[in-house]
Symmetry: C2
Subunit: 408 residues, 2 copies
């Protein structure tokens, strides 16, 4: 019998744990940032794919098409117009880099700024993927509280002063101002000005992540922080994952050439997927705005179904704010509940939720919170799933004290 060649002694010693095999999606899938399947504009994407491929398909023979490393030019032109219209950002198409999702935008910006031991300021409640990335890079993560208007200016001042007293200059302030992840708030203009003033006073740039910004319910959004400055005091990233479809893997970075020229050499992937770029540029020109308006209505309906289900099954035992938009709800449980344990047990019962500990810089504080995504599941599935969650929570933690009256 042939001895199996064992490569494990040769692997690096600092690898993450081995992956588990994928076994499909949970029945009640309230994680992952997936979107509403019926909202994918299939027919219009087919039409766009047909037109653009017939017109330009031969350019697939070149790395970078005929547009170079910043990405497919018509998509960057669409984005420059869209950002001006929706985000109040004035930039040229050559100040936009198309990335493989905003995840790659995160990675690229981090890669030029952050080294082991470097301090980075983030919102105390923030995107779990940002926390894990910064941890893997050995960064010193400084979490700053948020309130109903987003990142707290006075708490940010305190954090910056404390770091200055240590002689530490953080690399940037990472903020998700428009449909904050996970709290779903929108930072109003006045708060943005305060945050910018602190950035100027302390000489710390801002890394602005607006990947959910298209999903504000009423379509009204304050000017992006990037739009309020003329230069790289603010680096901005965005995404098409939430507005069109996450599997496409398309996002973008907005930066002036001084910074972009340092970011580009870190993007060593030979370009982001060309088909997505071509099809989206073709599709978005005509369809983006009405598509997203319809999507918001759909998502708002699901958000309301989730909130109704939580009120029906948990009553006053949980707290949450109406989200300003987006795809998730940030829910606070009583102190007796450990949401990490709740998430484990719920998953066994087919319900997937995000434990708050993964979404907070203070993991302990996160143990009473959970992020529950609503974009993917149909309303009936949301109702059933929250019902199952309530049963699990009641059995393990005695919360809700008694099953709230209401439909199962």
């Amino acid at each position: 019998m042939t001895k199996t060649f064992d490569v494990s002694p040769l692997l690096r010693s600092d690898l993450p744990p081995a992956a588990l095999k994928w076994t499909g999606f949970p029945k009640y899938n309230f994680v992952g940032g997936h979107n509403d399947a019926d909202s994918v504009p299939v027919a219009d994407l087919v039409a766009a794919a047909t037109r653009v491929l017939n017109r330009e398909g031969s350019t697939l023979s070149m790395y970078g098409l005929h547009s170079g490393p910043l990405g497919y030019r018509p998509l960057r032109e669409f984005l420059a117009d869209k950002l001006a219209r929706d985000a109040g950002i004035r930039c040229s198409p050559d100040e936009i880099l198309i990335t493989s999702g905003s995840l790659q935008g995160l990675d690229l910006v981090n890669s030029v700024f952050v080294g082991p031991g470097d301090a980075v300021i983030v919102e105390e409640m923030t995107y779990a993927g940002t926390i894990t990335r910064l941890q893997r890079m050995g960064a010193r993560i400084v979490g700053v509280p948020v309130d109903a208007q987003g990142l707290s200016a006075h708490a940010l001042r305190s954090a910056l002063e404390a770091l200055r007293a240590e002689g530490v200059r953080p690399k940037f302030i990472y903020t998700i101002p428009t449909v904050q992840n996970p709290t779903a708030t929108v930072m109003p203009e006045a708060r943005r000005r305060e945050i910018l003033a602190l950035s100027t006073e302390f000489g710390v740039p801002i890394f602005e992540d607006e990947c959910y910004a298209d999903l504000v319910w009423d379509g009204e959004r304050p000017q992006a922080l990037r739009g309020m400055v003329d230069d790289d005091q603010v680096v901005h990233i965005g995404s098409f994952s939430k507005s069109i479809a996450p599997a496409l893997r398309l996002g973008y970075i907005v930066a002036s050439w001084a910074l972009m020229s340092r970011i580009l050499p870190m993007k060593t992937d030979g370009g982001s997927g060309a088909l997505e770029q071509m099809v989206l540029a073709e599709y978005c020109r005509e369809h983006f705005t009405p598509h997203v308006a319809a999507l918001r209505r759909t998502l708002r309906g699901k958000a309301e179904a989730l909130m109704a289900a939580l009120r029906a099954r948990f009553g006053n035992a949980v707290e949450f704010e109406d989200p300003a938009g987006g795809i998730f709800l940030w829910v606070k449980f009583p102190a007796t509940v450990d949401t990490t344990r709740l998430a484990q047990l719920a998953l066994q019962a087919g319900v997937a939720i995000n434990p708050g500990a993964e979404w907070m810089t203070d993991m302990q504080a996160g143990k009473v919170r959970a992020r529950i995504c609503f974009a993917h599941s149909p309303a009936e599935n949301i109702r059933e799933g929250i019902g199952v969650l309530a049963e699990v929570c009641h059995r393990e933690f005695g919360v809700p004290v008694r099953e709230a009256k209401g439909h199962r």
Copy 2:
């Protein structure tokens, strides 16, 4: 006047130099691994896109479609069949990971094995992108000579013995056995067995890169090294960039679950582009084999045009072997020529070639070599471009001694 916020003091100090602005392609573009524009199967890609999107487009709403993190299952099923048929690799679709080009395959495999100071064995003449990646990772690159049959077994033995005497166990032997980059040789079966035996004897796994393997002119290729073992003694990567189109950014890793489960957590991109995966799976089922057969004929014609142009303009001043397939020619110049300087001057004259120093672990030895790609340019453009190259070379280095007779 507003002072510009200068982020440069906050950037990491170890960044690559700033990128230059992209100014379009050179007139005679003999670099970059681009492909033949007319060979892109546009009509069939449109048909495939239409069918697959109409059938499954709503699955774009999920990260990973309905297939999980290994990638779109029908594409992995196509690949499992294709690898069995073309490469003699027996693997299940769940031993295949779809990557964003084989570049990501390179990065992922490197990321689980290689740390600063780790020794990695590569062919002395190898893919420039591999050299730069390993350098950036701080690896100790050990180059081993190649001959007409690829990686030299006796030179590999010497290298392994020397490392063993130092108490060093290299992480892997990186080899491009089928249409080697840049020498375009094909490693015959007997040599593969020798290399495998050395891998077994010294306990060093093989990292096999077959991204050009579909482009062997006569379609005959020896069994992949991966096919000659049952386990992760060989990790295998491949690509669709050379067979279909580089801008699509689709490649794959073949590894058993023991190793794949360690690689997967390093792929933190939310999935590779779904459109490309869906369209290619749909297209390739029917069309891959005849498409590639036609493409090989086209590429062979261009290879012959390049070789004829070199003989016509340089005569005996340069040496090259007939490539067994692929998209490039590896050309040796006389010792009086510095191909790094030649490449700089030629670029000013509109001709882009790859200086050999970037394709050899011994950069000095590379100064008399150049890699010249032929896949993209039409034959007439090849002839003209080589004419310009000869003029530049003659002017700067006196080579060729006199312009060879022949058409301009």
